[in-house]
């Protein structure tokens, strides 16, 4: 098991390097010179030079070969590639503040919305899947399956809009959009986005977990347990749930990018000042340093989350570490 974990950790290194190369290829090689984009193509070379110096664009892209030849190892690795690789992001050209500072200020707001969405959604999906497994082929099963397919087909944006219209404009239960100051004020504003987001994301997961639970429920070990006198309830919660955890883990990891998209769309529609909105604004402002930093940072975080899940697999099912 220890060997598996070490091997798995080592496997992450090429992936992170690949992510870095991909980001770098997009934002440094393919992207037109930010100095020209920002200042116009008729700007004087001197102005461009000072712009590049200000945002660290004058540094060599990969390696400073002249410094490497003269033996200054430290200076040689002071390139844009290695700075980004080690999370030393530059300054945002729009806000004129360090990128990391901007991102860290906004990220908690996004997490405050997406965290609860994630937990509530997963819990509800599992509960429904476990519950309807005993109704297979009868009307509750049919209704849930139908609702999930319907939910997967409706555009998510339309669902958010309907939620705003129904609960905000019609019933006046929640404010339509906005963000407050202080914990209790924010809860009031966060409730509706969380509600519609959970509702919109239920479909696919519920359908998947239903299939998985049914598969386990009809396997031999459950039949054995039932014939020994284990109650249906215990068989579900003790035997089935434990074996369902692996597909649940897999599905959870694949669902995480969905949360990110949720953050982008929700924050725009509900005017929440979070990191998703920051990213969209940065794209409009041609703020390449910020877009690149957010892309790279979130991709690395995602890599690490995948790594953590893979390690969790071994706890849930020790057979995994045999591979």
């Amino acid at each position: 098991m220890g060997a598996y974990i070490i091997r798995r950790i080592l496997w992450t290194i090429p992936t992170v390097l690949g992510v870095m190369l991909l980001t770098f290829a997009l934002f440094v090689v393919a992207l037109p010179d930010p100095a020209i984009t920002a200042l116009g193509k008729h700007s004087s070379p001197a102005v461009r030079k000072s712009y590049r110096e200000k945002y660290g664009l004058d540094k060599p892209a990969w390696l400073d070969f002249t410094a490497l030849k003269s033996g200054q190892i430290r200076k040689a690795f002071d390139s844009r590639f290695f700075r980004t690789l080690t999370f030393q992001f530059g300054k945002s050209s729009h806000y004129n503040r360090p990128v990391s500072e901007l991102f860290l200020a906004k990220a908690p707001i996004s997490l405050a919305i997406q965290g609860p969405v994630f937990v509530i959604e997963l819990g509800l999906q599992l509960l429904i899947a476990l519950y309807i497994s005993s109704w297979r082929g009868r009307w509750p099963d049919f209704v849930v399956t139908l609702l999930s397919v319907l939910g997967m087909s409706i555009p998510i944006v339309s669902l958010y809009l309907l939620g705003q219209w129904l609960f905000g404009a019609r019933l006046h239960w929640f404010p339509i959009a906005g963000w407050g100051v202080g914990f209790f004020n924010c809860i009031q504003y966060a409730a509706l986005p969380i509600l519609v987001s959970v509702f919109g994301g239920m479909g696919g997961g519920t359908r998947f977990y239903r299939t998985v639970v049914l598969e386990q429920l009809h396997s031999d070990y459950v039949r054995t347990a039932r014939s020994k006198g284990v109650s249906r309830h215990d068989a579900l919660l003790v035997h089935v749930l434990r074996n369902v955890l692996i597909p649940v883990l897999t599905n959870t990891v694949t669902a995480l990018p969905g949360l990110l998209m949720g953050a982008l769309v929700l924050e725009r529609m509900f005017q929440i000042p979070g990191a998703g909105g920051l990213l969209v604004e940065a794209i409009f402002n041609s703020d390449s340093a910020l877009v690149m930093a957010v892309t790279y940072f979130l991709a690395v975080v995602y890599c690490l989350l995948v790594l953590v899940t893979d390690i969790l697999y071994t706890l849930v099912d020790p057979r995994v570490s045999l591979y």
């Binding site: 090429p14 992936t15 992170v16 690949g18 992510v19 190369l21 991909l22 980001t23 997009l26 934002f27 393919a30 992207l31 037109p32 020209i36 984009t37 193509k41 397919v149 319907l150 997967m152 087909s153 409706i154 555009p155 998510i156 944006v157 339309s158 809009l161 705003q164 219209w165 905000g168 404009a169 339509i176 299939t211 998985v212 049914l214 598969e215 009809h218 995480l256 990018p257 990110l260 998209m261 982008l264 769309v265 725009r268 529609m269 990213l279 969209v280 794209i283 409009f284 041609s286 390449s288 877009v291 690149m292 957010v294 892309t295 979130l298 991709a299 995602y302 890599c303 995948v306």
Partner: protein, 367 residues
């Protein structure tokens, strides 16, 4: 009496082509059959908009601003006219901030001159037909789905087959690329590619402006948006299929008929195209039908974020417009686009499920 006879006919694999059997099974499953008809209808509508007869309503190239304003955005009625099948009592309240146009000139200008079809689903903020917007939205949605799918399916299949068939270092490199691309969350990579493409297009545009008149012709903004969206989606969505194909090819490679083909001395391209490819087409078909749903939905999300379609009629734009309209009681533009997307995606989902069940039951799980 009738049912058993049908079943034996279905179970008998002899004397019926693969396609014929698929059609028979489709006919036997009403939900999938209706879905297939609905998808076909959307495709027909999308194709019909290319006919010159329809140019009265739209010049989608938008190369000529006047033409565009006059045709595509033809004003057919007064602003925010509700659908013609709704009674006039349900008309929305006048916007208090905008004084209604007064005087003979204004009313003469505002005379609705659209036919009953133009006004069928009401009008938008400027008095343009919602019905035609939905119809042309079909064209844009299908264009995105088809071209982005073609791009992503090609990349996914080629890389998957190469990785699975050759193995070794080729496999290792392709797997590394797949892992890398799938490590960047899908929406993030899409946004990053759109960001880069937009910046490049901007540079190209300013170069074209500086160039002497007539030497270069810049593509219209609408095409640029569409290009960026399609490219970004196509380049990010191939990893799933690539993994599936690789796994399948790994097992096909060891089968007797492939070994026999190799032993007979057939060259590798021929084995790949004639012996391997036909046996993974089912994966491509399933991925296409389920992936199209994602493309249609993603257009709406990207357009809402302001990074999708901006100069062509699309369903995403209609829903984006509805952000403010819906709260003021103007529901028809929102409803029309939502229903258009919903019906298409539902049909594609059901059809995709059917294809998966029939073509590759193993992908389904214990349903």
């Amino acid at each position: 009496m009738d049912a058993p006879a049908k079943n034996t006919a279905l179970d008998d694999p002899i004397g019926r082509s693969r396609f014929g059997e698929l059609m028979l099974r489709l006919y036997r499953r009403p939900a999938a059959f209706i879905s297939a008809i609905i998808v076909a209808l959307y495709v027909i509508v999308g194709l019909l908009t290319f006919l010159p007869v329809f140019d009265r309503h739209a010049d989608l190239d938008g190369s000529d601003q006047l033409k565009k304003d006059g045709l595509i955005w033809q004003i057919v009625g007064k602003e925010y006219a509700p659908p013609s099948f709704v009674s006039s009592a349900a008309a929305p309240p006048e916007d208090p901030e905008l004084p209604p146009p007064t005087g003979a000139a204004a009313s003469a200008e505002r005379v609705p001159h659209g036919g009953p079809i133009d006004l069928l689903l009401g009008t938008d903020i400027l008095g343009r037909s919602v019905f035609w917007h939905v119809i042309y939205g079909t064209r844009v949605a299908l264009t995105i789905a088809v071209i982005a799918s073609a791009l992503s399916l090609t990349i996914g299949t080629v890389l998957g087959v190469l990785a699975g068939y050759f193995g070794g270092i080729v496999d290792a490199i392709i797997i590394w690329v797949v892992n890398t691309v799938s490590s960047v969350p899908w929406i993030l990579l899409t946004l990053a590619i759109i960001f880069v493409l937009r910046a490049s297009f901007q540079v190209a545009k300013s170069d074209a402006q500086d160039a002497p008149q007539g030497t270069t012709k810049a593509a219209p903004a609408g095409d640029r948006d569409l290009e960026a969206v399609i490219l970004a989606m196509g380049l990010t969505s191939w990893v799933g299929l690539c993994r599936l194909v690789r796994g399948e090819v790994l097992s096909i490679r060891e089968r007797d008929y492939v070994v026999a083909a190799r032993a007979m001395g057939l060259d590798t391209p021929r084995i790949l195209v004639r012996h391997i490819l036909p046996n993974i087409t089912h994966l491509i078909i399933i991925t296409f039908s389920l992936g199209a749903v994602d493309f249609v939905q993603a257009e709406v999300v990207l357009t809402l974020l302001g990074l999708g379609i901006s100069a062509k009629p699309s369903w995403g734009r209609m829903i984006d417009d509805a952000k403010l309209e819906l709260l003021r009681g103007v529901w028809w533009q929102f409803a029309a686009a939502t229903i258009a997307i919903f019906v298409l995606c539902l049909a594609l989902n059901l059809l995709g499920d059917f294809l998966r069940d029939v073509l590759d039951p193993r992908l389904r799980g214990a349903d």
